[in-house]
């Protein structure tokens, strides 16, 4: 028997809605088998993955903390990707935003006023946007491939941060350890509900950014422009839209939001700069953007799901004693099934009959 994929004339609304659920069911089944092979109770494993992190208030806060940078970066990327601009360097823009945002608390530690916090957030956004404008400029001016230029700039940013925290910005009271001084209290992004957990206002920024960009993309002329240029630059040009302006717009928005994510993470969750401030949020956010179908509201959900899989992985390590590798394989399964099931939206499966002679398949 052969399995064929037949392209649908139109994408299927039914499977658009169903595919995440099918994917989830397949993940549960495959994950259950995986844990059974490892000799763990599948039910207990799936419980600690998907339910346990949601049963306690502090853990919900942690979910928000983990999802904040993913959502902030990914909603920015949705504008980029929809307009056919492939910004792979959000990780670098995240880091540069964190650095520019940290200028005041690190270099002027005695400058403690209430307006420091809004200023460092603006600095962070501006830094990320400026760094994002580099690949945009190169693309507009020299037609440079933005995938390569934005990706390479990630390493530049990482090494620059590394140099800063080991060199000029190192904490003078820090025994030579590579980190800056701790931010003073006016530079710390406050927690939303300090009594119950660590979630900081960055999460609110993430939700606001998602709402604003959702409105922009689906309800405004600018959103139409983004999608039109993305799908057909020629049609966009006939409509009088500037391809070049769109490149700048996309990179400035996504770079700025990545920068805001960077300074929010540093000011809200870490409290200082260190040689490594991101476990790869800028890259994971690319997955989040596509999981959320490049729709800002979908991205909020996708960011929360991915954050949950990180927390669940830890919970499973502690309560079941599975290794970190198992936790990551499981996360990989989830992503694989989600993306694979999206095939069903554009294709239908035909189980071949025996009409064709054997051997030609």
């Amino acid at each position: 028997m052969r399995i064929e994929l037949i392209k649908r004339p139109q994408h299927s609304a039914l499977f658009s809605a169903l595919s995440p659920f099918i994917a989830f069911a397949l993940t549960l089944a495959a994950g259950g088998i995986l844990f059974a092979i490892l000799g763990k109770s599948p039910l207990a494993a799936l419980y600690s993955y998907f339910i346990e992190p949601l049963t306690e208030i502090w853990s919900l806060h942690e979910l928000a903390v983990k999802a904040t940078p993913l959502i902030l970066i990914a909603v920015g990327l949705s504008v980029c990707f929809q307009s056919n601009n492939w910004n792979i360097g959000a990780e670098g823009q995240f880091i540069v935003g964190a650095i520019t945002g940290s200028i005041m608390p690190v270099l002027l530690p005695d400058f403690q006023f209430w307006f420091v916090l809004p200023l460092i957030l603006i600095f962070g956004f501006a830094g990320g946007a400026a760094y994002g404008s580099v690949p945009a400029f190169l693309k507009v001016r020299f037609n440079t491939n933005e995938i390569l230029s934005s990706l390479m700039l990630v390493y530049v940013a990482q090494l620059f941060l590394d140099w800063l925290v080991r060199g000029p910005w190192r904490n003078p009271e820090g025994f030579n350890f590579p980190e800056t001084r701790q931010f003073h209290s006016f530079a710390i992004l406050p927690e939303i509900l300090p009594a119950s957990g660590r979630a900081h206002w960055g999460f609110v920024f993430a939700l606001l950014a998602a709402l604003v960009l959702w409105f922009l993309l689906s309800r405004t002329m600018k959103g139409f422009e983004v999608k039109l240029i993305g799908q057909s630059p020629r049609a966009g040009a006939f409509a009088g839209f500037s391809d070049k302006r769109m490149i700048y717009f996309a990179f400035l928005v996504s770079g700025g939001l990545a920068g805001l994510a960077g300074i929010s993470e540093v000011s809200g969750a870490i409290g200082q700069l260190r040689p490594v401030i991101s476990p790869g949020y800028g890259f994971t956010a690319i997955i989040v953007a596509f999981l959320g179908r490049l729709n800002p509201l979908g991205i909020v959900a996708a960011g929360l799901v991915l954050a949950l899989s990180y927390l669940g992985g830890e919970a499973a390590q502690i309560s079941l004693g599975v290794s970190d590798k198992t936790a990551r394989v499981f996360q990989g399964l989830l992503l694989f099934f989600v993306l694979a099931c999206d095939t069903l939206i554009h294709y239908r499966i035909r189980l071949g009959t025996a009409q064709k002679p054997e051997g030609t398949a």
Binding site: S41, N176, P178, R198, I270, P275, V276, I318, D324
Partner: protein
């Protein structure tokens, strides 16, 4: 089908009961910066955890999290541990320092033990570290004898005092048998990255070193040294399996005795905050068997090891010059622990500028 469902239900019930039964036990939890399979730093901490389980048997229950990034993630991991009923939590990397102290403030009944740090902001935080530099001196002496080119390569992680101590101690050991000994240093800026560590080893060998030592966690450098046919030293763990003809010896971190002592103290209710810095004497720093070297070198190494263990000799005993030629320690003067734990300069003979 029904049987399967019953079996699953039974398994879940057992799983649900397990924590309830375990409550009488003392729970010791560990967080590692690398994978337990690094065969270096994190592996040794996990060996310590297993030794603890073996020694205290049913009285103790352990859990661990591996590959936890330093930064915001470690804070969450620690909070999860504290809430999941851990009585004592060992945080085994320098970068967990601030997270350890933050979470310790929230959970005053849980004991926290931070490895290689210096902050004890709350009564329930203790710190512990080992005098790895004692082992470094011994391997430095071996390198001084075995090396033909008189130049060794040192793969270093981060320019923090602990690493600088190791570099200086290694070179002092080597110079004690070969006054012209030179040392090349490569900073890889990571604790665990087999690819980078291997590249650093290759670069050093291409520059003419014929002995490699490292302050990083993987076995990559040992394997490169084995391929190129030169000698190397194991780090944190006995790496002889990765270089049977290559490894001269290894500085082995034995955390077992400390973990057993501290968890026992929790069980007995005698746990107190302290800063432990123990070495060969206490059995925290152990040398792997001396292999692939002539007998006279082996005897010299054993002699030095015995002297350091007995306290007769301290690796940082003057006269010692700083890299710039100024005097650090006068003849017979011994460096105090305060200076060592903030060490930020090289001794004479290091062919490198300390990243400042």
């Amino acid at each position: 089908m029904k049987k399967t469902i019953l079996a699953i239900a039974a398994a879940t019930a057992v799983a649900a009961m397990a924590p309830a039964m375990a409550e009488a036990k003392t729970k010791a939890c560990f967080i590692y910066v690398g994978p337990v399979g690094d065969f270096g730093w994190s592996y040794q901490h996990d060996q310590g955890r297993l030794a603890l389980e073996k020694a205290l048997g049913d009285a103790v229950e352990t859990a661990f999290l591996e590959s936890v990034p330093e930064g915001a993630d470690s804070e969450r991991a620690l909070e999860r541990f504290a809430r999941s009923g851990c009585n004592i939590i060992f945080t085994t990397s320098f970068g967990y320092m601030d997270a350890t102290n933050k979470i310790a403030a929230k959970f005053p009944d849980v004991k926290f033990e931070h490895a290689t740090g210096y902050k004890r902001e709350h009564a329930n935080v203790a710190t512990y570290d080992s005098r790895f530099y004692e082992g470094r001196y011994v391997i430095g002496q071996i390198a001084g004898k075995v090396s033909k080119t008189g130049v060794a390569g040192y793969i270093a992680s981060f320019p923090i005092p602990e690493v600088v101590q190791g570099i200086n101690s290694f070179l002092l050991g080597a110079q004690s048998v070969n006054p012209d000994f030179k040392l090349k240093v490569v900073w890889v800026n990571t604790w665990f990255d087999p690819g980078k560590e291997a590249d650093a080893a290759k670069a050093l060998i291409d520059q003419g070193v014929d002995i490699i030592t490292q302050h990083t966690d993987s076995t990559a450098a040992m394997q490169v040294a084995a391929e190129r046919g030169i000698h190397a030293f194991g780090q944190a763990s006995d790496m002889i399996a990765f270089g049977p003809q290559t490894q001269l010896t290894a500085i082995v971190d034995d955390w077992g005795p400390y973990y057993i002592e501290r968890v026992k103290a929790v069980i007995d209710g005698t746990w107190e905050q302290k800063a432990t810095w123990a070495g060969m004497k206490e059995g925290h720093v152990v040398m792997a068997p001396y292999t692939n070297m002539p007998d006279d070198v082996k005897m010299m190494a054993e002699g030095t090891q015995a002297k350091i263990t007995s306290g007769e000799f301290h690796p940082f005993t003057g006269p010692i010059m700083k890299q710039d030629g100024t005097e650090w320690l006068k003849d017979g003067e011994v460096a105090d622990d305060g200076t060592l734990s903030g060490l930020n300069f090289y001794v004479k003979g290091v062919d490198d500028t300390l990243p400042q």
